[in-house]
Amino acid sequence: MRNSIIFLVFFSWQLSAQINKEFINHLSVQKLPAEHFCYLNSLSVSANQDSLCFYKSKYYLQYFDDSLFRANVFLCPTLFFADTCMINYANWRYIKEKGKTRDEWFGWMKANESKYFFFNYLNRYYEAGLNPQTFNSSYLPPELKNSFVKYRRIDNRSPYAAAGLSILVPGLGKLYGGRKRSFVNTLFMHSMYGFQTYESVAKLGFTHPYSVFSLGLLSVFYVANIYSSYHDLKEYKIMLKNQFYEDVANYYYPYSESCILR
């Protein structure tokens, strides 16, 4: 009798400590975030902490919460790096993010690459975005080639050179930065301002208020064009890089979605 009571107590304690994987999969596939969250939090502390952290990180990845996902993943790196599907999905989710979040994630992945011996295409594409000149574009699928080649062509160009060209001819810096329409528009507008100013100075004299106003307007737009040629090229590079990452994410979407819901 005494033994059977001890066995029952031990058995019930073990039950509360176990994680029901099938049930978690069901909650994940049916997309029930509230129930999923409650179940994970109801699990006993005595449950396997690595597994619990792993399932929690999977939950925070599916219903994306950057900080909580990373906090849980950092506690169970071995399980995470053993699951290729989850690596795929996490990389896919982070490559869509902009700026610091993306860089931090892929930096952590790169630091662990040699330790856990894994390979992922998205890591390679992230590095291709960082150093486009050294990456061989023949390895890229045709759907990603266009945006990558465009990004690589612009990445070479210097914003200072763009500003210098804009001093010589208004809008030339934009043409150098790969913006043809902007160049045509800027050149046309500046020539119009220029002729208007020339006409007013020639007819009314340099000290006439209209001439001063025209000259001021021309100067403001001229300086704005130089400043923007420098600034726009820097922004344009980042935009093209983001577009490349966006294309990568779209290309890999079908595989990644099926992976996390299994």
Partner: protein, 150 residues
């Protein structure tokens, strides 16, 4: 005819072309509108609430600089009176005047005006093809941000 007459006429045509372009609206399929949205939800166009340039976070020099107040007043006048009259339809998500105002708030008068002038210079329909796909919103406007691109 003298040369400057030709330039003036071409400038006039260019300006009228820009205005016509700006006033063009995206055609809406009424049938799909009724199906997609509940018809009771549609409402008349209410102009966005605008405020005069906020100078709360500026330095003392920024607060006492009369040019800041002058530029803010001119932009406020344009937004509340002129913009509503001409039904201006900017190709950018944040309109040129609002963008200039926010840039002045964030970066100061000089950089703010330079950035505003740049956007004004680039405010034509054809500019959309120069932006990457992810920068174009569903209502066919360029998504521009006040902060730096990340």
């Amino acid at each position: 005819m003298r040369k400057w007459h030709i330039f003036q006429i071409s400038f006039f045509f260019f300006l009228s072309f820009q205005i016509v372009n700006a006033q063009q609206e995206v055609p809406v399929n009424v049938g799909s509108l009724i199906i997609d949205k509940n018809i009771t939800e549609t409402s008349i166009h209410i102009p966005a609430k605008r405020k005069i340039l906020s100078l709360e976070q500026r330095t003392l020099m920024g607060k006492v600089n009369p040019m800041s107040y002058l530029s803010a007043g001119l932009l406020f006048f344009y937004q509340r009176v002129l913009s509503e009259q001409i039904q201006a339809n900017c190709v950018y998500h944040i309109s040129c005047s609002e963008y200039t105002k926010k840039q002045i708030e964030k970066r100061g008068l000089i950089i703010g005006i330079l950035k505003g002038c740049n956007q004004l210079n680039n405010c034509f329909t054809g500019i959309m093809s120069e932006y990457p796909e992810y920068k174009i919103s569903e209502d066919l406007k360029v998504i521009n941000s006040i902060g730096d691109e990340e």
